[in-house]
Symmetry: none
Subunit: 234 residues, 4 copies
DNA sequence: AATGAATGAGAGTTCATTCAT
DNA sequence: TATGAATGAACTCTCATTCAT
């Protein structure tokens, strides 16, 4: 539970644009000088990913993170200003990884609809295999709205870009690329929740493989395809 | 401060089926025996809605809730077993109110696509006017997964029902009503986030009216309409 | 857990002598005027006996007592000033019942040693059958020392009386009747603990009959008999 | 304020067997890594002994303990999982110290009856000088029955052992060593209560020296001696 | 006589963060 | 760089007692 967070002088609002790597707080913490430091930082980050994923932001504690990282509690503050800071860094991380995964998958699709298909497949894959980390983003909506919005905005941007090109190329139709982008994100998110995330929360099959059933995937892609399709060429 | 207008007479008595589901703790707390008790319970519930909406589950505190309700802290526990319990009750409440609102709106639509249009309009209205409460549900994913899942499942159910009828009536096409149901919920949720929830979080125009821009609404409905439409009557 | 007990003006020390029936607090609560009141008071007392016995003084709560008595919480304070007061009354009660039971059993024993034997048998019977109430007295040592001491002192008194007569009659030997009295009480208490109270706490055979094994009883009585016996008439 | 003089170097490391028994909670708290930590833990333990002794388990509060130890409230939980845990540790401590004290006293007694005499003397000494801590054990009956039972069982064990040897050696007589062991414990406890504990509770002579009057001690030992004595060999 | 709502102080416990070593 | 002890505010929840009805 969230006792005081000591909110020191802290900035808190960093316009989300002016952040390279995630500058925060009064003094930016410099990257570790030594390889050992680098390693320790990495260890903490990895542990945090697991702990946040399992427990959620609020139920997670620094002491649990450091325990799992195998370092002392004080060590945490050598590398991060606060609990919130490391969380934001993680959210940004997930976003980047997810975007990278879909970008690669969509790379050389013959057309936009096929790209969409591959992109969604890659997304569902990612969600299935990074179930816990994936759910971090949801929480960010409350914990670090700027980070969450930035995350979605980044995805939306590439979407809008792709859709616009396709639209100009005359292969699809949209009344508003941005609206469509958010609609598509919503579809992906909710379908993932329903068929990838919840099943594992409920059953004890926790660590099992999960995969989106083909018929669901096809149904979803069918819906999307028609939603984007040109108006029956007549 | 135009919070919820209690769309239906509100819950409290639900469908007798749900009641079972939400009973918690060692002994169920009986409904207040006097009018005074009824009033106090209502006051606390209302205050909790506001506080949870503003601060989120974890940052909200019982003391803040009772302070805002104008009762002593101990009074809270006369009516609720725990913080989590009142939260779950609120989530169920929101779900019921939302479903009621859309049900009414869709009531006498001429066809499924028009029903969809009116349903979405009602939903966006609800989200715009109950912004804070609406966002409670998101958090429930972490705090009370069963409640969150029940919420979505309930909506999905009515969706599936409606879609199936329409499908059999030959007015729409789906490969999987359930997949479509979640897709539609996702669309609604994300569009609401982007154009109704975030704008107010960011600006200080907090208590202003918000309305989904018509072009966005139309773009969304166009996408959905085509997604569901029959394959060009040929 | 023992939040404030509001210790109002209360006396607290009532010299243990000047108490007929248990006068306490600022105004003594008069005996119930009506038969209905009498009944209610009795109900509360009985419930309290069960609850204190099961939970102990501190873990017991007024609300649990009134719940089990089937009356409202406020009703409690019509008949008792405080939690402590009803506890003391109960302790006195147990003491009286126990003394009555042994007195009856010892009534027409042919000699002191036989009287002792019958008295102990009656005591073990009482402890076995009133296991829970019996354990109330132990706690009284902390909660209401005067009551506990009065309890033991009362038993000791009758003991001393009996021993003295026997001593003068030349059937037993003691260097100090009072020391012997406490020794005998200690024996009874500890043997009861070991063979009557603990066994039921540990096993799930909770509500079963328990009886002190004959060999234990005989061993104890043998020890006592020799402890009191005359020095082999030489 | 002549509290315990730590008869033996105290516990803390016990017999490695007991350790297992008293490990609680999810993760065992490791022993302090630094001397400073060691000291703080000790301080808290000592304060707890005093506070529990004076107020009893339930009336004692963590905040009172830490206040008296001169540390922050949170510090308590660095070294102990809970109020109950430290209490149990204390009970085990007292038991060990008491057993050590009597063991030493009985060490080279010429025969069993003399050993008994010396053991009892040591016990009464201990009870007189550690009055408050001694009374902790009584409460344990309700708060931590396993700990209390273990305490008595440990004493009983050494008793039974000693009695058996003496019995085989033909210097005493018992029908049941265990029954006798509990009888002896009962005697000691009740006599201590009556002549060592209560007197100080009642009068304001609280911190004065107390000693069991010789005549009482002799009367008790006479009773025990005869209780155990061989049947006048004729 | 009886109810049951209301109080509010206080309890045990957690945890982000700081800091001396 | 790393440690781990220390802090103290804040939290959820309990309960003896009072009081208007």
């Amino acid at each position: 539970m969230p006792r005081h967070e000591h909110v020191p002088p802290a900035s808190q609002n960093a316009t989300a644009l002016d952040k390279q790597a995630s500058s925060k707080g009064p003094g930016t913490i410099p990257s570790p000088a030594t390889a050992r430091g680098e390693l320790t930082r990495r260890r903490i980050l990895d542990a945090a990913e697991v702990v946040f994923g399992e427990l959620g932001y609020y139920e997670a504690s620094i002491s649990e993170i450091t325990r799992r990282a195998g370092v002392a509690q004080g060590t945490f503050y050598i590398y991060f200003h606060s609990k919130r800071e490391i969380f934001v860094e993680l959210v940004e991380d997930v976003g980047e990884r997810l975007r990278a995964a879909t970008r690669v998958a969509m790379a050389d699709a013959p057309d936009r609809l096929e790209a969409e298909r591959r992109g969604f497949a890659a997304f569902f894959d990612f969600a299935a295999n990074h179930r816990r980390i994936y759910s971090i983003v949801q929480e960010a909506g409350r914990v670090a709205p700027e980070a969450a919005q930035a995350y979605y905005r980044a995805i939306s941007h590439s979407y809008v870009h792709g859709l616009q090109i396709a639209m100009e190329g005359g292969t699809i139709r949209t009344l508003s690329p941005e609206a469509t982008a958010y609609a598509l994100m919503g579809i992906g998110h909710f379908v993932a929740l329903r068929w990838l995330i919840w099943p594992q929360e409920n059953e004890e099959t926790q660590e099992e493989e999960v995969h989106l059933p083909d018929d669901i995937f096809n149904a979803v892609m069918d819906f999307i395809t028609h939603g984007l399709a040109l108006p029956a060429k007549e």
